[in-house]
């Protein structure tokens, strides 16, 4: 009895070791590919820069009060210059400050939306793909209903029922975003469940829960990670669109979309009010897209673009 256990544990140890080495090897190779890819490096540094700027916003800018409903009429409509890098708006708020704080809102939007919708979609997708049959039919038909409209229009329709705030916008976007992850994970789970290692787990009597999370989920991980990165840019884009239409971030909060919509009323004379927030949002979305594209090459997955 004891001898058998010893053998078993040594086999186990060996397995763990080879698994660990394979993992290290894979990570090492991926990291090498990541480093060699100028696109993903650029994307990663752009995103990191924005995260840094957003986190340190109150310490970077000399006018942190401009993030709110502060007014300074003598300084209204200042063109970009030494004191105000991006100029000031109609009531004298420093636009550089507002862009930095706008980044905070955009990043928060992406984080909140994805951390609600991704786990939800992944779990539903796993369930649908693994169990198949009626469960899959019901879940996938529901996702089809949510996908029958473009995301922005669906989010608009959901926002319509509530007072427009950024929190409502976040929930509205989150309530449709799970569908994409559900579909992705469903298709992977459906193909993985026929693999031998899953059948082996079934044969030795592992319960469904264990199979789902230990055998199938790891196989979806890289596709989901790539999709999350690509999604972040897209979610921010949808959020900016909602704010632009007046259904997202409400003044005096500094939403990038809100600032663009507000600034566009003063085109073409006060161009800086539109140009800088527009560029800011473009920069962030481009960063996420480049990073996602690089990750896709690196992890070698087809995660379906967004």
């Amino acid at each position: 009895m004891e001898a058998k256990q010893r053998v078993l544990s040594s086999v186990n140890l060996e397995l763990t070791e080879t698994w660990w080495m394979a993992f290290k090897d894979k990570i090492g190779r991926s990291w090498y590919r990541f480093r060699r890819n100028p696109i993903s490096l650029t994307g990663a540094s752009m995103v990191l820069l924005v995260i840094l700027l957003a986190t340190l916003a109150p310490y970077i800018t000399p006018y942190p009060e401009a993030a709110g409903g502060f007014t300074d009429f003598p300084n209204a409509f200042q063109p970009p210059g030494k004191a105000h890098w991006f100029g000031t708006d109609a009531i004298g708020r420093d636009l550089f400050t507002r862009v930095l704080f706008g980044y905070r809102i955009s990043l928060m939007l992406a984080v909140v939306v994805l951390s609600i919708s991704v786990p939800f979609g992944v779990i539903l997708g796993l369930t649908a793909g693994y169990f198949g049959g009626k469960i899959e039919t019901v879940i996938m038909r529901i996702t089809d209903v949510f996908l029958a409209l473009p995301p922005l229009v669906m989010a608009l329709a959901i926002c319509a029922s509530f007072t427009p705030t950024i929190e409502v916008a976040m929930l509205a976007v989150a309530s449709i975003w799970w569908t994409w992850h559900c579909r992705l994970v469903d298709s992977i789970a459906r193909s993985v469940k026929t693999e031998e290692f899953v059948q082996a787990s079934q044969v030795i009597g592992d319960n469904h829960f264990r199979i789902l999370f230990k055998d199938i989920l790891p196989n979806c991980a890289s596709a989901v990670i790539v999709k999350i990165t690509l999604d972040a840019g897209f979610v921010i884009l949808v959020g900016a669109g909602l704010s632009f239409l007046g259904l997202g971030v409400q003044p005096p909060k500094p939403g990038l979309g809100t600032m663009i919509s507000y600034g566009s009323m003063y085109l073409p004379e006060k161009w800086w009010m539109t140009v800088f927030p527009s560029f800011a949002i473009f920069f962030l979305i481009l960063g996420f897209n480049l990073l996602g594209d690089g990750l896709r090459d690196m992890l070698d997955v087809e995660a379906g673009g967004s």
Binding site: A148, L149, V153, A160, S161, A240, L267, P268, F282
Partner: protein
């Protein structure tokens, strides 16, 4: 058949969300000065006091008779409003699809033919940028450069103030003016639509370029292309005659998705260009909580989506006999 079920599901979903609203739609319709009695009367007339499933049934059966219920903001049947606003949006999206096909496909073909050349790299950068710029920003840049700066295109609207509307056959000004033979109106409408349609098309151009490139590269490495090249058939024939048709199928199948993204772009771009379309109507309806209008717009957008996907499937079958055969066998 299945897509009709999806539409029914969509209508139920939106109906539930719309009715979750805190506050009485009748009160919203009548405004703050109406008496409680009036509100009660109207909500009874609108059937708001009936159970939710019954309300839904009344609404949905009404739609089959062409009755989309009243819009609170225009005080007309939503069907009339949609008939009034839909052609403008359709025109915008159709022209945008043309942009996508006319620009995206050739660029994709060229990128594939000259893979990894400077042209391919420039295209890659453009595609990345196209997906990362919000469509309303493309519109604003267009206005800034071409309207305020160069003065080539007008900033807003579908027609100049002094241009008479063409007689209404289809509601699409470009088509109507051509049918009526009014070329000056056509020119004016064309000038008005170029900027907004391009802003709508930008994301699609990037996507279609990338996908055409990818599938073209696949096809160009096939044996029959190599054989054609070995026979000494010039590049332009192998590219455009032999390779283009099969490599056009992947971009064609995602054209349905492109259409969807263009519809949502239209919601943003119409605001920038004061384009009197359905998206603008829908956004206003949402801001004023005009639910029957929101429902109508949502259902029409969903229907358009379904119809376009159907057309795309048909076209794919037409271009690729293999798809046709598969369906026939199944």
């Amino acid at each position: 058949m299945y897509s009709i079920l999806v539409l029914v599901g969509l209508s139920i979903l939106i109906f539930i969300i719309a009715r979750m609203l805190p506050g009485n739609p009748a009160r919203l319709a009548l405004g703050p000065f109406a008496s409680g009695e009036q509100v009660e009367h109207l909500s009874h007339k609108m059937g708001m006091d009936k159970p939710l499933p019954l309300q839904y049934w009344t609404y949905i059966t009404g739609i089959f008779h062409g009755d989309f219920s009243l819009s609170f903001q225009t005080r007309r049947n939503v069907r009339l409003d949609i008939a009034h606003y839909l052609p403008a949006t359709l025109e915008l999206v159709i022209v945008a699809i043309l942009w996508v096909l006319v620009i995206g496909v050739p660029l994709g073909v060229l990128s594939a033919r000259y893979k990894d050349s400077w042209l391919d790299n420039v295209m890659r950068v453009i595609a990345f940028i196209g997906v990362a710029v919000p469509p309303f920003v493309v519109g604003l840049i267009g206005q800034f450069v071409f309207s305020y700066g160069l003065g080539i295109f007008p900033t807003t609207g579908r027609l100049g103030l002094l241009t008479p509307k063409p007689p209404s056959y289809t509601g699409l000004f470009l088509l109507d003016s051509l049918i009526a033979g009014e070329f000056s109106v056509f020119k004016d409408a064309l000038q008005h639509i170029i900027l907004p349609s391009f802003a709508v098309a930008m994301t699609g151009i990037g996507q279609i370029t990338r996908i055409t490139r990818g599938s073209m590269i696949d096809v160009l490495s096939k044996d029959y292309i190599e054989a054609a090249e070995a026979f000494g058939i010039p590049n332009r024939y192998t590219t455009f005659k032999y390779a283009l048709k099969p490599s056009f199928i992947p971009p064609l199948t995602i054209l349905g998705l492109t259409f969807a993204s263009q519809l949502s772009n239209a919601f943003l771009v119409e605001t920038v260009f004061a384009w009197p379309g359905m998206a603008k109507y829908g956004v206003r309806a949402i801001l004023r909580k005009d639910f029957n209008a929101v429902m109508g717009v949502v259902l029409i957008v969903g229907l358009a989506f379904v119809v376009v996907n159907f057309i795309v499937d048909m076209l794919a079958g037409y271009v690729d006999p293999r798809i046709r055969l598969k369906e026939g066998e199944g």
